[in-house]
Symmetry: D2
Subunit: 109 residues, 4 copies
């Protein structure tokens, strides 16, 4: 990862490079919980847990990942897209196109 | 609809009030097509069309509405959210929160 | 639509040909409501309604169509798939494959 | 897990108790891959990977879980629901209701 290519900010504070810097601990905590859910799913399948109970847990894990995605998007809009809008020009247009494409992938996944 | 409450722009051009002004014709055309699909669904059900064929058409209509939603969001980010970001302050924060909530409703609908 | 190809039932009652026969009125009522929502969306766009309010209504219409899809699927499983399972053989396998494909389209639309 | 409560089959072969018995290895393999993707996401966040790249990977992990869910559902319809349909009566109705509820959770997650 080359810091230069992504440093659209005017600061040298590394934690300011990404939109989710302020929510990093929260997001990692949620991802760890999602990982635990997916590991729990493997145990359920190995123990021949009833299909519907496994499915309920898959829905819970999917929802946990969606919550992470929505947090990332919120942070991205509030920081990266907003910062680009203040700069204006091509970078602003590009950031909106990129965010829209990510939203489309999320809505259709 | 009181124009005053929503006029965050500095222009009096009415068509600039909403993010999707430039795509209005396209969006209405797509909504008319979606309406045609939903009317077609009623005919299919009245004529006892096979369940799976009706379901395929429901998925197509749902996808058409999603395409409209993604277009509206893209326009909203490119205009309303970007404009608020340039103004900064509370209005910028509020616009991002509002957009994030709309994205969450879309992802979970 | 050739009635012969879809007549897997042993009755000549035409209304029994499809899984949703018992819920036909309910499904048409819901589709009419969804149609009204999509027409309302066109009015909202024509009147330059604020993007987020249009998006909220798109989510409502999408959800209405999803409710119809889930009702159709429930009826299809309870009648067509169940009937095929009782007959057994290839027709049973084919009906499950077909239902699974419809569910996949729904989950990913 | 009390085997008695879920033993709707007429066999004593434990591996036949659940619909996904024949796909157990495949499902566990896919869950392991999904677990790897979620662990990879934690690394990406810890290394301040650009928001959009993290989001793309969240969508991939979500899609992997959906594939598992669709496989489980397919197996459940082909075995558990079909078996209940052959038995008929209350158990058949209950299995369809239960499957429909699982599909609804999946569509709306």
């Amino acid at each position: 990862m080359d810091g230069t290519t992504q440093d659209h900010s005017t600061t040298h504070d590394h934690s300011a490079h990404v939109g989710y810097s302020g929510d990093k601990e929260l997001i990692i905590k949620r991802l760890k919980r999602a990982e635990g859910q997916v590991r729990g799913l493997q145990r359920m399948v190995e123990e021949d847990t009833y299909c519907i109970d496994v499915l309920t847990q898959v829905s819970a894990a999917t929802r946990a990942l969606e919550t992470v995605a929505l947090q990332l998007l919120d942070d991205h809009l509030a920081h990266c897209v907003a910062e680009a809008a203040r700069q204006g020009g091509d970078i602003a247009d590009q950031k909106v196109k990129e965010a829209s494409a990510a939203i489309a992938r999320l809505v259709r996944s």
